[in-house]
Amino acid sequence: MQVLIVEAKLENIPRVTDFVNDSLEALGCPMKVCMQIDIAIDEIMSNIVRYAYGENIGKAEIKVEVTEQPQSVVITFIDSGVPYDPLKAADPDITLSAEERQIGGLGVYMVKKSMDEVEYKYKDGQNILMITKSFGK
């Protein structure tokens, strides 16, 4: 398992992406899956920066675990901010016109749709969000 700890700031999101991509590339992850994971990282990290710590800056811990058989990756995002369950929000109405559209909730919705599993728990003062994606044949 690989672990990265960064300050939860928007400008650190590319560091997280690079860190995860290193593990994915070593596994020969297909480019499309890699990009879906990169999008998920962007959505989850930006949520942590905006909602978990508000005006303050805290830490985010990212763990990457890969399995070979079947080929899959589990990425865990941990922060010590206010309890925030992104999975609780209702799915956005994706049938509305441009004028009626709200952007809120789209990011989490995209993560739910593109990953195989998304799990949230709050434990010992920490938000723990785990995403799983398999890409074996």
């Binding site: 999008i39 962007d42 441009a98 990011g107």
Partner: protein
């Protein structure tokens, strides 16, 4: 992300390369704010764009709303990953994709 801009009269083409996400979306937002005034035909060329997250969708939606009032907006050369994002989020119904 890189932004390449070509303007001919009231036609504006913006070509993006790289990733349109939380860190880069403000660049596109700034560029559009700066140059969308008076444009009747806006083309966004995504040929070299790798992927787009919800932060990018927010900017596209804002641009589409402006262009609904003053002309047309077309998104070109969308790759498979981005097309899937558009389909999942219903943006394929909002945007004109060529």
């Amino acid at each position: 992300m890189n932004i390449d801009k070509k303007q001919q009269g009231t036609q504006l083409t913006i070509s993006l390369s790289g990733r349109l996400d939380t860190t880069t979306a403000p660049q596109l937002e700034g560029e559009l704010k700066h140059s969308i005034n008076g444009v009747t035909d806006l083309t966004l060329d995504f040929e070299k764009l790798e992927y787009i997250s919800s932060a990018g969708l927010r900017v596209l939606l804002a641009a589409q709303k402006v262009m609904n009032k003053q002309g047309e907006m077309v998104v070109r050369h969308v790759n498979e990953t981005i097309m899937e994002v558009f389909e999942i989020t219903g943006f394929s119904d909002i945007l004109t994709i060529e």
